[in-house]
Symmetry: C2
Amino acid sequence: MARTAGSDGEKTEALLRSAALELIARHGFDAMSMRQLSAKVGVQAAALYRYFPTKETLLFTLMKDHMEALQASWEAARPESDVSARLSAFVDNHIRFHIERRHATHVSNMELRSLSPERLTEIMRMRTNYEKELRQILRDGAQQGLFRIDDVTLTGMAIIQMITGVIVWFRPGERFSVDEVAQNYHRMTLRLVGAAHAEDSHV
Amino acid sequence: MARTAGSDGEKTEALLRSAALELIARHGFDAMSMRQLSAKVGVQAAALYRYFPTKETLLFTLMKDHMEALQASWEAARPESDVSARLSAFVDNHIRFHIERRHATHVSNMELRSLSPERLTEIMRMRTNYEKELRQILRDGAQQGLFRIDDVTLTGMAIIQMITGVIVWFRPGERFSVDEVAQNYHRMTLRLVGAAHAEDSHV
DNA sequence: GCATTAATTAAACGTACGTTCTATTAATTC
DNA sequence: GAATTAATAGAACGTACGTTTAATTAATGC
């Protein structure tokens, strides 16, 4: 056999990507074999090389797309309003985005080691750019006297770790809804930065 | 050749453990080969099997020792004093312990996937026990009216993620000392739980 | 100093991996 | 409907891996 009836490159690539995200998230990048991936989609291993020249390129592509989508999601959600609302929006967008794409998030957070130095640099650059948005919010809030922040870099890291960590324990359909988690976390974040009136917030 | 002059089982095992922590932290468990590990210590790969029956057992041993040491460290540091001091002590101990053992921490956080189900369960049980200590502090603080906490489980997770995340960005000898980081984080933690007078704290 | 135990080497086994090569069939174009 | 392009299959290549087996030397106990 060779080309199969109804085969379609775009469709196969999309299937491969989502199957790869699931397998890598579950077993890790090294532990996922190209044969395992191809079997999940129902093609031979050799067929993968029509879409991705190497296994590492596949990983890089997944991560890059994830980071671009994250940045785009924030730019679409970013309000022009006051800093507290911007901070809440950042936390909200971050949590929702990552919960909705838990596999891709796991991959992006756990498999950086498997990238070549150049590709690692590129992903880290995208990540840093995204995190700059948070730091700018923190800086604005501090300058306007609305936040009490000892160190912007350190506080930014603490918040990122805290809100990204949601995917470690969150399971859809259990105790908390996404809304509850998002609301709770943005309240904790506002307290963490010493936001004026954080305690009275009804949002 | 066979047994080498000056060879000593305890010494070799200790060397293997620390070499393994470093290699796994840097390259990941799957990416580390037994030959790579043995070469780092200067023995043949077959020699490893005198100390660890399988590669996975080696990983499990490292993780278990790490968790036991963490629990012991907290039990030694735990004060009998008021809840705010206990919370500060927890944060302080956690950060210092993890910074001092960054390799082991990385391994314990990143390589859970490579454990068999039974062994994963055991490590998770230890981890849960440790995290219970934090939740108890939060519960006590809330009951005494000192903390303002919406949900103990969720707040506990947020704090754990935040303070464990330090090892992701912290590099000894750069901008911050361990003391500064620990102090800053316990201030953020107290704010996060809405601790009364957190803003006036001089600790 | 001999017997025993501890620590290691050297070589090999079977397996699984990423990747490549070539052939083959399906869809598309004109 | 012939020519071309797209999408795959099937087989193979070389390599590296975890682990085992047997032999060998060093240290220890009596």
